[in-house]
């Protein structure tokens, strides 16, 4: 009986439950997906180091999930409160009919349980499917193979989700019980309509404030676009943005006062004036929550799009930054160690070089006494950028002893990495600088800077070369590329062997082979220091794994928190609109009496809700566009960020979740204002 009543209630007022249901379902889905990463990784072939990072990520996700659970809990309680407010009259009726409070509580309990069960089922179904996609994304980010794609279901994540939402429901039930037992019957029956006077603000003040808002937003935008986001000014920029946002929503209503005068044709057509006034009144009384939601959406969009673009960017960067499968460096230190062919030595020591390596090239780094003539201008400019005395013309250890690279060997390296070759004339030099410093150096005027090496003068052959010529090895900040006939007479300080592999397996096998041959014992028993033909070994995936893992964690956290914020914003906006519509249901009846067509009334309601819901989104989108552009600029040179794909995916997510809430809200609101049939 009780169950039947609860079931009937839920199915009958399904519209009322729509937003509540959606919040629960999205919450469950999200919670499951991010807690099932643990199980999902089973089907990805991860290396040991990657496993380590993924484990770390899972630990962090665990902590974040607690935070997420709290946010979702508050949201569900908020949504439930709205539902209770809507249903007070109905509950009062039960009491009036002589049902005991415990009975009413039990009905509510059954309803909560029923809704929860449905939401759990829907959310989990979505979550299980979505988590398979997450595995694919993870595999892609780690550039790992999906060993065998199979459908993974994580009982642990299910348990965690059920536990979390069970707790939330417990809170909801306690809340509802308290509401029923505390409520007076008379209160329940007369759901009082709050009577607010629309706060109308003076038009002139609003114009001033709006200009102020535009000015502060413009300042913040231009400033952050100028400095990038990684400066100490960011706090001020954000503060300016917040103030601008709040002022924007505060002054918006005043501007609407001018609307009828400016666009009378639009304003006095159909229900336009009604819709605009309604939205205006709402924004007016909800400046604070509008601003907060706008900023939250901004954060969401930035988290999502920025996180995704950065993860993609880091992957692209990794490939640029680590152009060779492996780099081995052997420091000869002049007299004590002989120069040698690294690859030849490896082969002699019994490593199957010819099977594992696709191609390789060796480059000898040489040393000379180098002076930059007339370079004061040049280095002063560099010093200005660094604002660090370490890098001045005289004292700069970085600039004082660049290593010398012979042109042809250097070009061989560039061929190996598919980079265009460079050309150096007989009396010319080229300056190579570390990629991270490229943005400062490429802008500097090199022409006119002469270099003397061992007393011979060279002039600049062109702009700086910045592509790295080793994978993951630090070879000073700058280097000089000089003509072969001169450079090859100089003493060798270090030797560099770069290798390309056919596949990742070969790369791993090569590293393993080196490990097996050049053991600790061999080092101990070796007579000379040349117990192995390299001092440092660094492979591409070793480097990429460490950099990508951190970024992947950033991405997942960004997406996780971003989605929670998105759901929160959308749900709060939707619920606000619903309760507002319920409070003003009378207005829509009046419109019908004035002869507005049903279609017209419905369109007025929908456009009102859409406008209200999209207003903070629109401003947030502008904020986010600027923020992402600033992000891109801050990484310029370092990391070529392509924002578009990330932004496109984010747009898709926004459309799905935000659009879903918008539809659910419209659907529910239509139920609220539906004409009561008198028959």
């Amino acid at each position: 009986m009780l169950c039947k009543l609860a079931f009937r209630n839920v199915s009958r007022s399904f519209r009322d439950f729509a937003v509540y249901f959606l919040t629960l379902a999205f919450g469950v889905c999200l919670f499951y997906v991010f807690n099932s990463i643990d199980a999902q990784q089973a089907m990805i072939a991860l290396s040991e180091s990657q496993k380590f990072y993924v484990d770390q990520m899972i630990v962090i996700m665990g902590y974040v999930s607690v935070f997420v659970a709290v946010v979702l809990g508050l949201l569900v309680v908020y949504a439930n409160r709205f539902l209770m407010k809507r249903r007070k009259q109905e509950l009062g009726l039960y009491l009036l009919l002589g049902m005991r409070r415990t009975g009413v509580t039990r009905i509510l309990l059954a309803e909560t349980f029923l809704i929860g069960l449905f939401a759990l089922a829907a959310g989990l179904t979505g979550g299980v499917f979505l988590s398979q996609m997450v595995s694919v994304v993870t595999a892609r980010l780690f550039e790992a193979d999906l060993t065998s794609f199979r459908f993974v279901f994580s009982p642990a994540a299910l348990g965690k989700t059920a536990l979390c939402f069970g707790l939330i429901f417990a809170v909801v039930i306690v809340f509802n019980t308290a509401t029923v037992s505390r409520c007076r019957l008379s209160e329940l029956l007369t759901a009082a309509r709050k009577n607010e006077t629309p706060g109308v603000r003076s038009g002139r003040l609003c114009v001033v404030l709006f200009l102020l808002s535009a000015a502060s937003l413009a300042t913040a935008y231009l400033w952050v676009l100028h400095t990038g986001i990684f400066t100490s000014d960011l706090g001020c920029q954000i503060a300016l943005g917040c103030i601008g946002t709040a002022l924007f929503f505060f002054s918006l209503s005043g501007l609407l006062e001018a609307f009828p005068r400016l666009f009378p044709r639009f304003y006095f057509r159909g229900l336009h004036c009604f819709v605009l006034r309604q939205v205006n009144a709402r924004v007016n009384t909800a400046v604070f929550s509008m601003s907060v939601i706008c900023l939250m959406l901004f954060l969401t969009i930035s988290c999502l799009a920025g996180g995704m673009s950065m993860a993609e960017g880091f992957n692209a960067q990794a490939r640029q930054q680590y152009p060779y499968g492996a780099s081995l460096m052997y420091t000869t230190d002049g007299d004590r160690k002989p120069a040698l062919s690294i690859e030849g030595t490896l082969r002699a020591d019994g490593i199957a070089v010819d099977e594992l390596i696709r191609s390789s090239s060796q480059l000898d780094l040489r040393r000379a006494d180098v002076r930059f003539e007339d370079a004061l201008r040049f280095f002063d400019a560099a010093a200005l950028i660094y604002e660090d005395s370490e890098y001045t013309a005289e004292g700069g250890d970085v600039l004082a002893r660049p290593c010398i690279l012979p042109e042809s060997a250097f070009n061989a390296m560039r061929r190996l990495a598919n980079q265009p070759e460079v050309e150096v004339g007989e009396e010319e030099y080229l300056l190579w600088v570390k990629p991270t410093m490229a943005q400062y150096f490429t802008a500097l005027p090199l022409s006119g800077v002469t270099v003397s090496a061992e007393g011979r003068m060279f002039t600049a052959a062109g702009a700086c070369v910045t592509e790295p010529f080793a994978t993951g090895l630090g070879i000073g900040q700058i280097a000089l590329i000089l003509p072969d006939e001169f450079a090859e007479t100089l003493p060798i300080t270090a030797q560099l062997l770069n290798i390309q592999f056919e596949s990742r397996q070969d790369e791993d096998a090569f590293a393993a082979a080196l490990d097996a041959v050049y053991t600790e014992e061999r080092a101990e028993t070796a007579t000379g220091r040349n117990w192995r033909p390299y001092d440092i070994l660094s492979t591409q995936h070793q480097m990429i794994d460490s950099s990508v893992s951190v970024k992947t964690i950033i991405l997942f956290l960004g997406v996780y928190i971003g989605l929670v914020f998105l759901i929160t914003s959308a749900a709060v906006l939707g619920l606000q609109q619903l309760s507002e519509t319920a409070d003003r249901a009378e207005s829509y009846r009046l419109l019908r009496r004035l002869g507005a067509k049903e279609k017209m009334v419905r369109r007025a309601l929908f456009s009102q809700i859409t406008m209200y819901v999209c207003l903070p989104l629109a401003l947030a989108l502008v904020h986010a566009a600027v923020g992402l552009k600033a992000l891109q600029l801050s990484f310029q040179g370092d990391l070529p960020l392509d924002i578009l794909p990330g932004a496109a995916v984010t747009a898709g997510i926004l459309l799905l979740i935000y659009g879903g809430y918008l539809l659910a809200t419209c659907f529910a609101a239509q139920g609220v204002i539906r004409p009561r049939r008198r028959e």
Partner: protein, 255 residues
Amino acid sequence: MEPVLRVRNVEKYYGSRGTVTKAVDDVSFTVEKGEFVGVMGASGSGKTTLLNCIATIDRVTSGHIFIGGRDVTALGERRLSAFRREELGFIFQDFNLLDTLTAFENIALALTVRRTPPEEIRVRVEEVAQRLGVAAALPKYPYQLSGGERQRVAAARAIVGSPSLILADEPTGSLDSRSARILLESLSTLNAALHATILMVTHDAFTASYCGRILFIKDGKLFSELRRGEASRREFFEHILEVVSLLGGEGAHAL
């Protein structure tokens, strides 16, 4: 000439299975163009129900209502809203102004829903507001207006579209006597000067005394009719009181 309103054997029942309330029970009457007709009766006698049926807000159980020669009981939902827009104007007891709109916009709404050009809207709203003495209130919001002003704004909205029939349900119900008198005088003027046809429901004899003809209703049935003729308002008021005391019951207490 075809009368503005013709009500033929209208019945309206509430409730289903078992208990049936006959809110309106076989009511027939006619209102000619330019008439100011009052419907009087005790609370619960079916006045609002009758008015709502005429207003096309409620559907009759049986019978026919002709407005301007058209049978509104036969119109579909879509035709009805067009009909309401073109032919009817409403004034309700609770002022029913939208509190987010200014008085001007509230009045204009009756015109914008039928896509009147904005220049014309301005002219007509100002003219009507002038006539009802609320021109100064136009830029204000409802919460800035007195009850009487609000009701006159509602009246302005009802007549701004030049409807063929104005329907008013206890328009003075929540007004003090001074505001009530101003509103009623405005309605009389509209009736006299513009030949507006008004059907007003009330339980108050003083309000009713502004009408040209009164229909008395009791338990959903028409009970009697009273014409003002050449009598002054005060004399007419006395007549009404007599009939009301004849009616007896709750109606008498309402005075």
